[in-house]
Symmetry: C2
Subunit: 100 residues, 2 copies
């Protein structure tokens, strides 16, 4: 079953550059891994709730592929002081797309 990683990050303002660099290093680690489909990093616009400054949303072919990549690798973003990650794995249960 395809799983969606939705990882919401709390990032202190003075750690944003370090966080972005670490995120890119993490992507480099898994970009060619079996089972990796796609990832998108979202930045908060500041126009509404600002609890999470960044949210990464990634698709994996299955949970085993996701776990294999991180078995021997701690995502760099989780090693920066003050950064708090919430890497949950989700399935889509409802979809509404009037133009689809």
């Amino acid at each position: 079953m395809t799983v969606t990683l939705i990882n919401s990050f709390i990032v202190p303002q003075d750690e944003e550059e370090a966080f972005l660099q670490a995120w890119r290093e993490t992507v480099d680690h898994f970009a060619t891994a079996p089972g990796f489909v796609q990832t998108r990093l979202h930045r908060n616009t500041g126009l509404n709730d600002t609890t999470f400054q960044y949210v990464n949303i990634a698709l994996w072919q299955d949970v085993e592929a996701y776990r294999a990549v991180f078995r021997n690798f701690t995502p760099a973003g989780q090693r920066i002081a003050g950064v708090k990650a919430h890497p949950g794995l989700y399935e889509v249960i409802e979809e509404v797309d009037p133009r689809g």
Copy 2:
């Protein structure tokens, strides 16, 4: 600019049914609104971080369209005791899609 609503919900276990019904009522409210593009409700699989039981990800053509819909309507999910929403508005800043 297209904006992505990423709304992470903390939902007490005994309120899940009420939350899902309220979410569907909320979608009914905006499904035909100008500027609404798509929405997907994700349920946590329980296989990793379980802070947020549900995450709604929606696309809107712009922030004004999103705001217009909720100007006179409090999303039903935010009126259930114990449910905590984090409705942030985001823009995509990085995308990696090896097969794209």
